[in-house]
């Protein structure tokens, strides 16, 4: 890792009286895929749009590929690939016409045909954008971001609203771009997306980074390896304090009738939990366990879920 592809220091941005970004520092080495993870309204989009040169910052410093927006905007734009959150491309143009249009803005880059092949839209080449599915539209948006052979790719919520198959297809495409050694900054509120694609993740909340590291480091940092969730008839008779006292359980909360336990040792915690349920004659209706994820990191740090509005 030589120089940083993207360096952000003490970034601040407020809209009227709402502070969107409040003192944010970020450094993305070249060749890395970096994820901004957080709930809606955390300031992810504002941050990425400031980096893209679309939004002016109030204060702080932003350096992209060693250049600054104030002085090098034209040169910078030639080297960035951008996909915005809510862009609707013109419905009346075909896939090929759209890609050709975007390609015409860049000095260099692959041919429109190659980009269309890259995002696997060859069969839809002559279809109007208005007839494409959500996943195909997102792939076209990605194609429009790739036409200039960018050194950095900015992706704002690339898979929001897509079905699982379309998401996986898009992830494959992004991974292909990663393999070419390019830098990616992406925002998402899907923890699985960040875990799968990103080498490093910054968890954002209320305009600040509250945790930073690789997905593995972040999960490890909360000292919890597993999460046990269950619901049961008569769960209200359970004493959370008793559950917390079980060997291998770090913490337990009740949320919407579902009890959630952060567990360090699954093999000792689960039998003890079951024994406790039998003792109180509480019938389990559901029991799940999974390895701790970034979602659990967020819950642990903020007490809220990522997708809470």
């Amino acid at each position: 890792m030589s120089e940083a592809a993207l360096r952000v220091q003490a970034l601040r941005k407020a809209y009227q009286d709402v502070v969107a970004v409040s003192g944010l520092d970020l450094e993305v080495p070249a060749g890395q895929c970096f994820g901004l993870l957080g709930p809606n309204g955390a300031g992810k989009t504002t941050t990425i749009e400031i980096c893209e040169g679309l939004t002016a910052r109030d204060s702080g410093d932003v350096e992209v590929l060693g250049m600054r927006w104030e002085t090098d905007a034209r040169a910078l734009k030639q080297r960035l690939g951008i996909q915005l959150q809510e862009t609707q491309l013109s419905d009346k143009l075909t896939v090929e016409e759209t890609v050709r249009l975007f390609r015409s803005f860049f000095d260099k880059g692959p041919t429109p045909d190659r980009v269309i092949a890259l995002v696997q839209l060859e069969e839809k080449r002559r279809s109007r954008v208005g007839t494409l599915s959500g996943g195909q539209k997102q792939r076209l948006a990605l194609a429009c971001a790739l036409v200039g052979d960018p050194e950095i790719l900015f992706l704002d919520e690339p898979t929001t609203g897509l079905d699982p198959q379309a998401r996986r297809q898009l992830w494959d495409l992004i991974e292909e771009f990663k393999r070419a050694g390019k830098t990616i900054l992406l925002t998402t509120h899907y923890m699985d997306e960040a875990e799968r694609l990103c080498e490093r993740v910054a968890i954002m909340d209320h305009g600040k980074i509250i945790a930073l590291g690789s997905p593995r480091e972040l999960v490890a940092s909360i000292g919890v390896e597993h999460v046990v969730e269950f619901s049961a008839d008569g769960a209200e008779r359970l004493d959370l304090a008793a559950l917390r006292a079980i060997n291998g359980v770090r913490d337990a909360q009740i949320d919407n009738g579902v009890i959630r336990m952060q567990v360090t040792a699954l093999h000792s915690a689960v039998p003890s939990l079951l024994a406790e349920l039998v003792r109180l004659d509480i019938r389990l209706t559901e029991l799940r366990t999974h390895s701790a994820t970034l979602e659990d990191v967020f819950v642990t740090l903020t007490g809220r879920h990522l997708r809470d509005e």
Binding site: R74, L84, E86, T87, Q88, L89, K92, S104, F105, F106
Partner: protein, 341 residues
């Protein structure tokens, strides 16, 4: 060359326009239909024959009046009923004392007209001779008919609507879709985006004006007495002025609804005041300076003067000045106010 961004952006303008059947109709079909309909409705006809009622047997007076058709009535009551029902425009009665009595509605032009014609016939039949000999020579020349007045007005209205709508809707739609925001995230030079509208508009103008004027000349025999080059120049200047106005109207709006309200609010007064369907001279003298300063009035007056009276560029200089002024004011203000997102 085919990869030049300006070329690609202009192509997009054409594609979006041609793939919208409604837009095609409003720009090309509608003006032709309107001209055809109005031309048919207001075609010039020779003086109409008016039907009058006469009480009693004295019909001889009207035998030499070809523009009057006489219906005899036995009684006054019967004749008055026919008058009330509009079957006759005038009822003529001859009281016993030798005078003549006319029943008619003086607020009805047909009634007044019938009164005049009938009286002439009655008086001449009674022996009156006119002291001055009068002769008629009829003028039904192209250029002074209603359709001749109408065509330049419709053309002007069309240029205004075409420029403002095509500009406004496309820009607001691109802003609403965040497509403009996406475009300015690319290295696209921003003025190319606006320039593409201008180029496509001017290219469309050739087809639009050509089809409309061709139709007017061939079907209605509307004259174009001034130079075609001057007519073309007026159309281009008008398009530029209205394009700038359209750009100004759409510089901020984020929804189609807001923009179309603003556009209609701007255009409606001009449809009425600027002499599209009837002469703007009908409005009071006090408001004439305001009407003259409207871009559509200037465009219509310039087109009419050039097409119908064969005016030269110096004769329509004031109108061209008004259009140029609108362009010079609207365009910089629009650029200053313009929001890309």
């Amino acid at each position: 060359m085919s990869d030049h961004p300006l070329y690609q952006l202009t192509l997009v303008r054409f594609r979006e326009f041609l793939r919208e059947p409604e837009a095609l109709f409003w720009v090309f079909g509608f003006p032709l239909l309107l001209a055809a309909g109005l031309g048919l409705a207001f075609r010039n006809t020779p003086a109409e024959v008016l039907t009058i009622g006469v009480v009693g047997p004295e019909l001889a007076a009207f035998e030499n009046a070809p523009t009057l058709s006489v219906e005899p009535f036995a009684a006054v009551d019967e004749g008055l009923r026919a008058l009330r029902e509009g079957r006759v425009a005038l009822l003529v009665e001859r009281p016993a004392n030798g005078s003549v009595l006319y029943h008619y509605d003086d607020t009805n032009p047909e009634g007044r007209d019938a009164r005049l014609r009938a009286d002439i016939a009655v008086q001449q039949n009674a022996g009156r001779t006119d002291p001055v000999a009068a002769q008629d020579e009829l003028m039904r020349e192209a250029g002074s008919r209603y359709i001749d007045f109408l065509i330049p007005g419709l053309l002007g209205m069309n240029l205004m609507g075409g420029s403002i709508w095509s500009m406004g809707f496309a820009i607001v739609d691109a802003r609403r879709r965040k497509l403009m925001k996406r475009l300015i995230a690319t290295p696209m030079p921003r003025h190319y985006f606006l320039l593409s509208f201008l180029i496509s508009r001017l290219a469309m103008l050739v087809v639009e004006v050509g089809a409309f004027l061709g139709f007017a000349v061939l079907v209605f025999g509307v004259p174009i007495r001034g130079s075609l080059a001057l007519v073309a120049a007026i159309c281009v200047l008008g398009t530029l002025a209205f394009g700038a106005l359209g750009l100004l109207l759409s510089s901020r709006a984020k929804t189609i609804e807001a923009a179309s309200g603003l556009m209609n609010l701007t255009m409606l007064p001009m449809w009425i005041l600027s002499g599209v369907f009837f002469s703007s001279q009908r409005f009071p003298d006090a408001v004439q300076p305001i009407i003259d300063a409207l871009p559509l009035t200037a465009l219509n007056d310039a087109l009419r003067a050039t097409m119908l009276q064969g005016a030269t560029v110096t004769q329509i200089a004031p109108q061209l000045g008004v259009l140029a002024a609108w362009l010079a004011v609207c365009f910089p203000v629009a650029l200053k106010l313009f929001r890309w997102r």
